[in-house]
């Protein structure tokens, strides 16, 4: 279970020309709730605040104000407990290429306090599911980006987390690998896990997400099931809803 209540986050950046400090509000008062057995799709253009929101949920960043609860733990107070029940994957996450997938999973099993035998069994099971079992003992130096992404997915799910956060999980993947990832997400929903996925791929959202939230300028719009969102906006696709929101956002500014 994930609960966000009026979450704000801002960053201070320096203007290179004027050397003046500038405050950027990345997330502005987002509230949402994701239940077990649900896949929540978080959409939005680049720089809208998706990754910042997901990082705050994962306890990697602290909100400036508001509160986030994951598995019953407040992220600022118990970030370790939050991360213990959560599997986090981001496109900008690399793998330790000097290791084989088996070695990497063994090490991360230790980090996540998983019994070595359980980690070994579960790691191989995940690699099989991701069609990477044949490469379990191959050094990752020569792996394609898709293979590395699969290893990252296995790493994120190794400790059997109740909550899963995938930040753009299919970016850079071929159609077949992307389908494998989507199938895995469906399985996780069936297993009763709480899943948040951020993506740019609208058909994927319509296909697998139970509910969708669109972030524009750090604010959450249209927190509803995809079909309800289409109906309320009188749109034929999520792409259309996306463009409508973009136009509204420009009008406001």
């Amino acid at each position: 279970m994930i609960q966000l209540n009026q979450v704000h986050k801002s960053f201070t950046v320096k203007d290179r020309k004027t050397r003046a400090a500038k405050r950027i509000d990345a997330v502005r008062g987002i509230s949402l709730e994701v239940r077990p057995g649900e896949i929540y799709g978080l959409l939005g253009p680049n720089g809208a605040g998706k990754s910042t929101t997901l990082r705050m949920i994962a306890g990697l960043m602290d909100p400036d104000s508001g509160s986030i609860h994951v598995c019953g733990h407040e992220t600022r107070q118990k970030p370790e407990a939050v991360r213990a029940c959560l599997g986090y994957l981001s496109t900008d996450m690399g793998v330790y290429v000097r290791f084989t997938p088996r070695e990497l999973l063994r090490i991360f099993g230790e980090f996540q306090d998983v019994d070595p035998r359980v980690a070994e069994r579960r790691g191989l099971h995940l690699l099989e599911k991701l069609q990477l079992a044949d490469f379990a003992d191959v050094k990752m130096e020569g792996f394609s980006s898709g293979q590395k992404q699969k290893v990252s997915i296995a790493r994120a799910l190794l400790h059997d987390p109740k909550v899963v956060i995938f930040d753009e999980p299919t970016t850079g993947l071929d159609v077949l690998t992307a389908k494998t990832v989507l199938d895995l997400l469906r399985i996780m929903r069936e297993e009763g896990r709480t899943v948040i996925v951020s993506t740019h791929v609208m058909p994927m959202v319509e296909d697998i997400c139970d509910r969708v939230g669109i972030i524009f300028d750090g604010k959450l719009h249209g927190d509803a099931p995809p079909l309800d969102l289409l109906r309320s906006r009188n749109a034929k696709s999520l792409d259309e809803v996306f463009f409508q929101l973009a136009a509204e956002s420009e009008e406001i500014h």
Partner: protein, 396 residues
């Protein structure tokens, strides 16, 4: 602490997978020092033997033949050569001859009349062969001078002791171990500091800014391990690599001593006398907090950098500082400046210098040790505080 140990274990496992780095970090020092020192010793020995076996080339100007006969008679040590073409000083610098000796024209007459005459020797003292030639000339002239004095005294009917009211006998109070200890005390702290710093540097950059560059740091942070444990684990790894590098290099240097001394056991025995367990233990004890201080600096710069290039630019100037401080502490008279016991880093060098030269000062050592421990502790606290910040970890 379990988390920190797991992170350090991960770093060492990652290192163990890179054969090239393993070779350069652990095997090369063992091959490099004996090879370099062995080759240097062999070349120096051969050069010395060559210089000593051949006669020194001397251009002699002696119109009255006051000393010409003396040099000609000693053909094994002197070879009189004609005046070289061009400038005499340039000929000496070009090693066309080893020595130019000019005896004043009235030398023979001065000798007859029991007066004094002068000899001017010109040489390029930066050359070993010239140094040997000058030494040979001094020996030859000293012997001849004594004979002439004896002759003059005899002619005056005086005793030979008249011109020698005293005889100075010099005895060396320093045993070979103390001499070696003093040399080691000057060089060792400098070497240890450089080895520790450079040994930590590359591994530190790889484990900090390198993780950012390879986008793997986020995967560590997404685990249940507390952030400060991740930082401490990396610190432990960087520190360990610095200590290992310093110890391996020293060990290799120690093993190279027989090569340097040409197989003689006397210097090895003297070294063994200096490097007793007490001295080595105290050296290790004070080097631990210093290594921790260096590692913290590397960690701090590494994690805050966006990539390895930026980290390298921030960490490399540290080498120059270490070299500068090391050279400063080697200067003569520095060990007498009491206030330096309160200057961080410098005080460690001085404490080690005194330790090896058998001038161990307990109070100075304790002050240096306490200050370095305090500094390392403070730096560790600052590192974990600063590196815990999102700004440092997510700087990209």
């Amino acid at each position: 602490m379990r988390g920190a140990l797991l992170i350090a274990k991960k770093e060492f496992l990652e290192l163990s997978k890179d054969r090239k780095t393993l070779f350069f970090a652990f095997v090369l020092p063992f091959l490099l020092y004996p090879a370099i020192f062995g080759m240097m010793a062999k070349m120096a020995k051969r050069d010395e033997a060559q210089n000593r076996s051949k006669a020194s080339r001397v251009y002699l100007v002696d119109p009255s033949s006051a000393i010409a006969g003396l040099l000609q008679a000693d053909s094994k040590r002197f070879e009189l050569v004609p005046k070289p073409e061009g400038d005499l000083r340039q000929a000496l610098r070009d090693q066309k001859l080893d020595l130019a000796v000019e005896v004043e024209p009235g030398a023979a007459a001065a000798l007859q009349g029991h007066a004094t005459f002068s000899i001017t020797a010109t040489t390029d003292e930066s050359e070993r062969s010239a140094e040997i030639a000058l030494k040979r000339l001094r020996e030859a002239l000293d012997g001849q001078q004594k004979a002439w004095i004896q002759e003059r005294l005899h002619a005056l009917g005086a005793s030979a002791q008249l011109a020698e009211p005293l005889k100075l006998e010099v005895k060396n109070a320093a045993d070979p171990a103390l001499e070696i200890g003093k040399v080691m005390g000057r060089i060792l702290p400098y070497l240890l500091m450089i080895m520790m710093y450079t040994g930590s540097m590359q591994h530190g950059i790889y484990a900090t800014a390198g993780e950012k560059e390879r986008h793997t740091l986020l995967s560590l942070m997404a685990t249940r391990l507390p952030r400060n444990q991740i930082i401490l684990g990396k610190l432990l790894y960087i520190f360990s690599m610095g200590v290992i590098a310093a110890l391996l290099n020293l060990l290799s240097m120690g093993l190279s001593i027989p090569f340097m001394s040409g197989g003689s056991t006397s210097s090895a025995q003297a070294l063994a006398a200096v490097a007793n367990p007490m001295t080595l233990g105290l050296t290790f004890m004070i080097m631990v907090p210093l290594g921790l201080f260096f590692s913290n600096f590397i960690l701090l710069m590494g994690i805050q950098a966006r990539n390895t290039i930026e980290a390298g630019s921030a960490i490399t100037p540290g080498i120059f500082l270490v070299v500068f401080l090391g050279i400063f502490t080697m200067a003569p008279g520095v060990d007498k400046m009491a206030f330096l016991a309160y200057v961080p880093v410098v005080n460690v060098c001085l404490a080690l210098r005194k330790l090896f030269s058998q001038q161990f000062n307990q109070m100075e050592y304790l002050v240096s040790f306490a200050m370095t421990v305090g500094l390392a502790g403070l730096m560790t606290w600052v590192s974990t505080r600063i590196l815990n910040r999102e700004k440092a970890l997510f700087k990209a």
